[in-house]
């Protein structure tokens, strides 16, 4: 494996490229808007006042640093490597998404925008953004696929209580890709008064960079915490990858540590047939979607392919450009976990450690279980537990409850 030293490279370059991925493939109507956001972000990101404000909110509002927990029961039962969890599920709003939403909301406020808009898949990003908007004092519109609105009902209700408008995307498969289409369309109608706070490390430059920077706090904290607990760095990192925000958040601080093996986990859904999975890095080919270049699940005509997984937050035919790059240089191994394995990990973590993980994070847990079983006891695995599973309980019980002795 080529573990080239990434600290020496500036990622992305000035045009937003990570190697050949990323960039800004947008119509000229969007180009100046993206440039405006880039300039505003570049200006405030090192501003001590902004950093202080964000740090204050992370500490006193989100509850950072989130703990690292040694999942002893799970590890002992497997008899292999020791599994540790970075508890992003314990953040205010229950997932890692709040990390970049607070940053984006503060940015919107500083840019003088009245409204912040976004798409959401599982509703985690939507809830986090609605929360940040309520706190900072911005209007908030969340675009969500009609299918996900049904599937992720508790999060939809939370967004509405927080004062956000939930706007259904009713075309195509009515999931995450369509929600992004719908949000972009709404954005173009009034870019002056709105800011599009994209929900992952995807989209045109500067979003993959900006969202990564806000999420990188996960890895910075985890590195320190893990060393304090064990006296060394973790041997392995595992995180789930849809767009890839929680994964890049954990990985960034470790990319230059050549001895740390890094695993990104994509959803294999029910099979590797088109339309049954969202394993973009495994089965995609380079292409453009939503204004950036990345690995893309697409058909022969270059249309984005339909995707499907139990985890709405991973349901995306594209993937972050930096992940696409990290795959090509072989710094990160991208693996897959199917629906069944994810559900099984969901139940195991709940029953052995008393932690109900989000279905997205369950993919990372499932891969960690597989990996741990193959490794000796003195090896360590740090998993990003990116979100809690409260939002998924009705769905899991309805679809899989019987197999686990849960009758309603």
């Amino acid at each position: 494996m080529n573990k080239s030293l990434l600290a020496n490279e500036v990622m992305p370059n000035a045009e937003g490229f990570f190697g050949k991925y990323g960039g800004r493939f947008v119509p000229p109507m969007l180009e100046p808007i993206m440039q405006e956001i880039t300039e505003a972000y570049e200006k405030i990101k090192d501003d001590p006042v902004f950093k202080e404000e964000l740090y204050y909110l992370q500490k006193h509002y989100t509850g950072r640093p989130s703990p690292v927990f040694h999942a002893k029961n799970l590890s002992d039962k497997l008899g292999g490597a020791q599994i540790y969890l970075k508890r992003e599920d314990l953040n205010h709003t229950g997932a890692h998404k709040i990390n970049h939403c607070l940053g984006e909301a503060l940015l919107a406020k500083k840019m003088g925008k009245a409204k912040i808009i976004a798409e959401s898949g599982a509703g985690q990003h939507g809830v986090a953004l609605a929360t940040a908007a309520a706190l900072v004092g911005l209007e908030c519109d969340i675009h969500m696929g009609e299918v996900d609105i049904y599937k992720e009902h508790p999060n939809v209700v939370r967004m509405r209580i927080l004062g956000a408008n939930v706007i259904p995307a009713t075309h195509g498969l009515k999931t995450l890709k369509e929600a992004v289409d719908s949000a972009f369309e709404a954005y173009l109608t009034d870019p002056v008064n709105q800011l599009y706070a994209i929900g992952s490390v995807v989209g045109p430059h500067p979003f993959p960079m900006m969202v990564r920077d806000f999420q990188a706090v996960i890895g910075r904290e985890a590195k320190e915490q893990f060393q304090e607990m064990t006296g060394k760095l973790p041997d392995n990192l595992v995180a789930c990858v849809g767009g890839g925000s929680n994964a890049i958040g954990l990985f960034t601080a470790f990319l230059d540590d050549a001895d740390v093996n890094i695993y990104g986990v994509e959803p294999a859904g029910t099979s590797f047939e088109t339309g049954d999975h969202a394993a973009t890095l495994k089965l995609g080919k380079p292409g453009m979607i939503h204004g950036f270049k990345c690995y893309l699940l697409q058909n022969e005509q270059g249309e984005p392919a339909p995707v499907n997984t139990v985890a709405s937050g991973l349901d995306y035919p594209g993937v972050g450009p930096q992940h696409s790059y990290l795959k090509d240089i072989e710094r990160v191994n991208y693996e897959t976990i199917n629906d069944k394995e994810a559900i099984d990990a969901f139940m195991k973590l709940a029953r052995q450690e008393g932690i109900i993980p989000a279905l997205e994070s369950s993919h990372a847990v499932a891969y960690a279980l597989k990996l741990a079983a193959k490794l000796p006891k003195d090896q360590t695995i740090l998993v990003n537990l990116s979100g809690r599973g409260d939002k998924d309980i009705d769905y899991v019980v309805e679809k899989f409850g019987k197999e686990y002795g849960i009758e309603e």
């Binding site: 119509p27 972009f184 109608t189 979607i289 697409q298 270059g302 249309e303």
Partner: protein, 255 residues
């Protein structure tokens, strides 16, 4: 001299029409093209449908979805228009998003354009710098014009750069967003057209977005070589298909 250069040399008040290929029925592409030529249209932008359009309004988006559902593809489009130069003499440019073209293979795509007699290409999400670095030579060797869009937010400096690298025409998008008080936007638009005209560009310009009838067409023609009608025409064929008399009536009502 190619068809586009000839058109801009010989004519003013150029009436250009956009429509989505494969809409409303998959094989309507050529009949609509023919009806437009017979009705006296000067130039056609033929849309290649894509399911992930970042810049299209609801009418064109819906037509693209329908065309894709009909089974439309780039491959099919080239089959439909392979003999168009036997009956169509006006310039035809293709318009669409970059990924399907990228997937088709740009070299193959350009070669195919040349073979069937397509005169130019509009790919709104292909960044100008990306084009200049990687594809400009390819387009120029094949004699296919690459047509760029400019908006009220595009700087003079950028417009000059685009002008220097254009060999067809520049597509002047009349407004960047659709909201705002109407009167203000109209005055703002005219200021913008004047600004563009005062730069001293070598490339001819066509104005598009929001051109739907004789009045908006004539106003646009005062500030450019002509104008492009999109949604209003797509709506018409959505209702009447490739019916020649309706298309003729429509073009006559504009010109």
């Amino acid at each position: 001299m190619n068809r586009l250069q000839q058109l801009f040399r010989d004519k003013k008040d150029i009436c250009s029409v956009y429509f989505t290929a494969g809409y409303p029925n998959i094989d309507d592409t050529l009949p609509v093209l023919k009806a437009l030529e017979d009705a006296g249209t000067d130039l056609v932008e033929l849309g290649m449908p894509f399911s992930d359009p970042l810049a299209d309004g609801p009418t064109i988006q819906a037509s693209s979805e329908q065309a894709l559902e009909n089974g439309m593809s780039i491959k099919r489009l080239f089959e439909q228009i392979k003999d168009m130069r036997q009956t169509i003499s006006m310039p035809v440019v293709l318009m669409g998003y970059f990924n399907p073209v990228f997937k088709y293979g740009i070299e193959n795509f350009i070669a195919k354009c040349k073979e069937v007699g397509v005169d130019g290409l509009i790919l709104p999400d292909l960044p100008f710098d990306e084009y200049r670095e990687k594809y400009l030579e390819l387009f120029e060797e094949a004699g296919i014009a690459n047509i760029f869009l400019i908006t009220p937010q595009t700087s003079d400096e950028r417009i000059k750069l685009i002008d220097a690298n254009s060999n067809g025409f520049i597509y002047v998008v009349s407004s960047a967003s659709v909201t705002g008080a109407k009167k203000e936007v109209e005055q703002g638009q005219i200021n913008y057209f004047n600004r563009v005209n005062n730069i001293g560009l070598q490339s001819p310009r066509l104005i598009g977005f929001g051109i739907s009838n004789r009045s908006t067409f004539k106003t646009a023609c005062q500030h450019a070589s002509g104008a492009i009608i999109g949604s209003a025409f797509v709506k018409l064929i959505g209702e009447h298909g490739a019916e020649g008399s309706k298309i003729e009536e429509f073009i006559k009502s504009i010109k």
